[in-house]
């Protein structure tokens, strides 16, 4: 039982970061109906930005992730203006190809600039643990959990309460009527794309201390992001947060009871099961 609870807790700690990733993707999908196949690549960029801040300026990754978020917000907006906005009314087919192309460019540019070497930020926190009764939790994971929680709640409040958030939800509900209500669809879509990318960057920054960094590190996360978003119901931001936590727990249980190497496989199995049994997500009501 202790082992089970321990695995669940570890899963929740990772799951909070997954939630950030999934929420970013859900935001983009909800407002733009664009499936961002480059999400993991943007996450990788966030990791490199945080790494550079650490390597050159000695900024701790748990502070540097803010820099990654800001940089990726700007970068995401630029990518939207140059590459996404021109194709916003094209078929799924073209949009998927476009974001796949963007992913290839990002990953291989990183490879060209930084080489394929594995890099690491050796910070002390990653090796210290906190004890709660019979349970042991990694301090770094606890810290990133806390930070992620702030951003998860922050994003939800922003979407629910702010004027931009309202406009954003209006577009998600009905893209044809929203502009008639005086909403600048292109501006809001740009903001939500940039914000979604920024969340991928923040998650990347927070993941950095626990992982080895290399150019294709993000690939798995693109797929994870989709699993999360499908679990939570495509386009629902709260759903994505819960989907992220659920995926974290599922992975943690798999690696505890079946074997570490199958943790990634459970992602895809969950994904295919979910798509074939209940494509609208755990909480979704409308048909996907």
């Amino acid at each position: 039982m202790t082992q089970f609870l321990q695995a669940c807790m570890n899963g929740l700690l990772t799951g909070a970061l997954y939630a950030l990733i999934g929420m970013g993707l859900a935001l983009i999908f909800g407002v733009m109906r664009i499936v961002n196949f480059a999400h993991g690549a943007f996450l990788m960029v966030g990791m490199y930005v945080t790494f550079l801040l650490f390597d050159r300026l000695k900024i701790n990754p748990y502070l540097g992730f803010i820099g990654a978020g800001i940089f990726l917000f700007a970068f995401g907006y630029l990518v939207y203006k140059l590459l996404i906005q021109p194709i916003r009314d094209r078929s799924d087919f073209m949009q998927i190809l476009m974001t796949t192309g963007i992913a290839l460019i990002l990953v291989d540019s990183a490879q060209l600039t930084f080489g394929a070497d594995y890099r690491q930020t050796n910070i002390a926190l990653i090796n210290s643990a906190a004890h709660f009764g019979p349970f042991t939790l990694n301090s770094a994971s606890l810290l990133s959990f806390a930070i992620a929680a702030v951003f998860i709640i922050g994003l939800r409040e922003f979407v629910v309460r702010s004027r931009t958030g309202q406009a954003l939800r209006a577009i998600a509900q009905n893209r044809d009527v929203a502009p008639l209500m005086g909403i600048n669809v292109i501006r809001i879509q740009g903001i939500s794309f940039a914000l979604g990318i920024a969340f991928a960057g923040i998650a990347g920054g927070l993941l950095l201390p626990a992982l080895y960094l290399f150019p294709s590190v993000g690939e798995d996360y693109t797929l994870k992001a989709f699993v999360i978003v499908v679990l939570g119901g495509m386009g629902s931001i709260e759903g994505a947060a819960i989907g992220g936590l659920a995926l974290g727990v599922a992975e943690s249980l798999t690696s505890t009871y079946i074997g570490n190497q199958w943790a990634l496989a459970i992602d895809f199995v969950l994904f295919l099961l979910m798509l074939s049994l209940k494509p609208s997500g755990i909480f979704g009501s409308q048909r996907a």
């Binding site: 094209r90 290839l104 291989d108 060209l112 199958w262 295919l272």
Partner: protein, 330 residues
């Protein structure tokens, strides 16, 4: 020669003869290897075209069939099945798995479909990485389909032969009722279904055909390079390459995948020496440019322009509208 059908056949045979020319003339193994890869990927692009081009289903999981072809051949040959029979059985294995995968993925549309195909490919990659029969991440040695000093010549000729078969299947598809149904599904699946096309059935058939051809390609590829690991023959990059080759040339056109393969592989060969590990960069740039400026692909755009001009000449008063793009605004 005046019969257009005869002219087409003569043209086809002449093109085929030109394609086979390097086999007796070139002795450099490096060049033969590059040509082999071009011919093989032309075949793969044409195989993908059946599903991605004619039926309009953006699959990014075709590597599953490619990998099954390669792994199937390696495992069967290790159990002393004669090589050529093993090649055939491996391709049949790919087809069989395609039937299962098709049942799952064709219930989905648009991005969900694409994601599910990626997931299927990845599940296979992870399975091959973790099983003992596939020797995990270490990989398997492939049986040689050809031996002797002329191996690369033989491999090249067989790749051209495979591409020819794929081309003929595409040609048949483009001109048959089967193909018309697929194109109807691509243009508007709901309408196609409403007028009585069994959409699920026809999509599945196109996938089975495509998977069989892709499996043959995988077996040939693995055998030519002698050694396979999950990250080489089950890598999602192969799926992406197949799709880009067809899209760049023009998805749903006959010559598109061939043009795409020649263009993409020769440029990547040139850039490989300069960028080494980063040669996929050029793929990314090409995709972005094609999506922005040539959404119909090279051959598709040319065909469109030709048809447009012909229409203008025939009916100068009312210039016919350009052929509708296979997409609807949303």
């Amino acid at each position: 020669m005046r019969d257009p059908r005869v002219r087409k056949i003569v043209l086809f045979l002449a093109a085929l003869a030109v394609c086979e020319l390097p086999a007796p003339l070139v002795d450099n193994n490096y060049i033969l290897q590059v040509l082999f890869r071009i011919a093989l990927f032309a075949a793969l692009g044409l195989a993908w075209n059946l599903v991605g081009g004619y039926a309009g289903q953006l699959s990014l999981g075709h590597v599953a069939f490619f990998g099954l072809g390669a792994y199937g051949l390696a495992i069967l040959a290790a159990h002393s099945v004669p090589v050529w029979i093993a090649v055939l059985l491996a391709a049949l294995l790919a087809t069989l798995v395609a039937a299962v995968i098709g049942k799952i993925v064709f219930r989905l549309r648009g991005p969900y479909f694409t994601l599910a195909t990626i997931a299927c490919g990845e599940v296979l990659r992870l399975t091959a990485t973790n099983l003992t029969i596939t020797n995990g991440a270490i990989g398997l040695t492939m049986p040689a389909v050809f031996t002797g000093p002329w191996v690369w010549k033989f491999y090249y000729v067989s790749a051209v032969a495979l591409a020819t078969v794929c081309f003929l299947v595409n040609f048949w598809t483009a001109n048959s009722r089967f193909g018309f149904y697929l194109m109807a599904i691509r243009e508007d699946e709901d309408t196609a279904s409403a007028v009585g096309v069994d959409t699920a059935n026809y999509k599945l058939r196109s996938l089975l055909l495509s998977a069989f051809l892709t499996g043959l390609g995988g077996a040939l590829y693995g055998s030519a390079f002698q050694f396979i690991v999950p990250d080489s023959v089950l890598n999602i990059d192969v799926s992406i390459q197949m799709a880009i080759i067809a899209m760049l040339g023009g998805a749903g056109t006959l010559l598109g995948p061939i043009v795409g393969a020649v263009l993409l592989l020769s440029t990547s060969e040139i850039f490989k020496t300069q960028f080494q590990e980063s040669h996929l960069l050029i793929y990314g740039v090409l995709i972005v440019l094609v999506v922005l400026f040539l959404p119909e692909g090279i051959v598709g755009s040319l065909e469109q322009r030709l048809r447009h001009r012909r229409n203008v000449i025939q009916k100068p008063a009312t210039a016919a509208p350009a052929v509708s793009a296979p997409e609807k605004g949303r």
